[in-house]
């Protein structure tokens, strides 16, 4: 269908929305978003029918980028440990490089603004680092939801990110320690 004219403006709006949420929370006015995107107030609504739709699409847009960064480095021929570490490092690096986006996504994620549909798509998106399989095999997570592994990955990574962002000088140490901690969960032979 007639996707509105400028794909560029769409992207600008998406990014502006993320930036605005990072700065002012989900209460950030649409007028602020359109201003940051360099378009008129009304234009925003030609690309997204409501603020909520904009936020949902923004969430997936950013999450997709995060997943791209995290998944791009996956080499199926490598063993789980290596793959996991590559992904971990990419995740942390991406997070450090895009603090506003991380903040926006985390903030939005706590909210009921995200629709069930968005949550469904989100689950689809996270790259298969091998944790689901590891989850299934692990006597620790036997029988539990296979997304539990990914959730741990993200939970620990986000905590790590917070400390790394606060002490940039030692970001690498946090990155490494965080991963080692994470690895112990999945890669320790009982």
């Amino acid at each position: 269908m007639a996707r509105p004219k400028s794909e560029e403006k769409r992207t600008q709006l998406l990014h502006a929305a993320a930036e605005a949420i990072a700065q002012r929370g989900v209460g950030a006015p649409t007028a602020m978003i359109s201003a940051m995107a360099g378009v008129a107030e009304g234009t925003l609504f030609r690309y997204f029918p409501t603020k909520e739709v904009l936020f949902n699409e923004m969430y997936l847009h950013i999450f997709r980028q995060l997943c791209d960064a995290t998944g791009a480095v996956l080499d199926p021929s490598q063993p789980l440990l290596q793959r996991a570490e590559m992904s971990w490092n990419s995740y942390i690096d991406w997070g450090l490089a895009h603090p506003a986006w991380i903040k926006a996504v985390n903030q939005l994620g706590m909210t009921d603004i995200l629709t069930e549909e968005t949550r469904d798509i989100e689950r689809t998106l996270f790259p298969d680092v091998g944790l689901m399989e590891a989850c299934e095999k692990s006597e620790l997570f036997e029988g539990l939801n296979i997304a539990f592994g990914d959730a741990m990955f993200i939970a620990i990574a986000d905590a790590t990110l917070r400390f790394a962002a606060q002490e940039p000088a030692r970001a690498d140490e946090y990155k490494l320690s965080g991963f080692k901690a994470f690895a112990r969960i999945f890669l320790t032979s009982a």
Copy 2:
């Protein structure tokens, strides 16, 4: 004095605020909060000068309760593993018993509404499960911020909580698996 300001109303407002945030996010109207607390709109502002102050105090109030629950079970004579498990279980149990409060605290925690002062007090509050000491001794976290351990505890517990809350029938399994995973980080002999 004419009538002392009612400690009960204060508490009702605090709890109403938590409930309201859980239901409608930080944009929840003060009118909704006062209604839920069973007081007049203006009364809220005799107890808390602004919405932000209310939210900050609410955050600490709830966090304090959470810490009380988590820390009450600590028995210094027990070894770290046991202490950690007791606290872990209390945390998860408390979280399952108060889903709205957990949601409110998490939501508020992502926000810039919390002042630096609130954050400072928060750090003071979390009970000493022994993770800071473990952090310092661990070769994993050597030299890093000693709050990293507590952060991991909370990050993993919150992730666990989310899954447990979603599948209440297996809450105990999640609780146990979550703890085992956490324990591997701190209690694995390298």
Copy 3:
């Protein structure tokens, strides 16, 4: 009738009201006034049934003081010119000594808060400097409202006061020049 207990509190409230209006205009909250008077919020309403009544009584109270100061110096045995000058000087001196009260009275005077009754009493209060008689006799004001003279006195004095207050160092010069100007109106032989 049972005038409420403390005449002192009544006066404090009156003065506090004047001060509050000077500082914040007629929108000054009753709570501010009671605080400035050193009494509880509710106490104000035991002395004055409404804010408007308080303001009306305050207006007359202050105006009465002003008139006392202006009229006290009148010596009926002196000729008009001297009497007028004495009064003029007292008015200006009193105004310079009580800037907040002048401000409050002027501010309130422009407002519809003052009742017709208050206005009536006010007219009664201004001391008879002799201007009414001078008015009647003057071919200038023949047949016009005899209060016109007092109004001129006050109008010119207030303007003088504004300049004198702004340049306190030359207050005396303004006082003298203002009076001379005023005198030309009434005391010039056509």
Copy 4:
């Protein structure tokens, strides 16, 4: 551009503000003002960011009109006496024709709502009737602020206006007597 902001609406808001202040004082609600202007409540704030700004701009707008009326009749070739009388008459006529505006301006003028900037501009605006020069030359006002003359003009005119407005049938008599009184100050040969 979508639609230019309407200069007409701006003016309507300005006039509505004056009318509202005349009727209800500076506490007049913005909702009342927008209603009187025939626009939506929110529209007011697209033209003036705050009520205070609106009031300041209104003050200057009205004062400018008053000055235009008063100054338009000035003919530099005429002697001071004639010029002053022309201006005086215009002032009184304008005031009688726009009682609400006069009331609004006087009310606002007593208030701290007017900024220092507004006061500065105001001083700039009053037409040069020749009183400043007369002030300088007069032995009466020698060395004093040259604005003293204008202040007297306005003070006496406003007092005159009040009486004239109250007895419209004799407005002309007040107008003439007021001017004669004023003239004695400046135009009496010592």
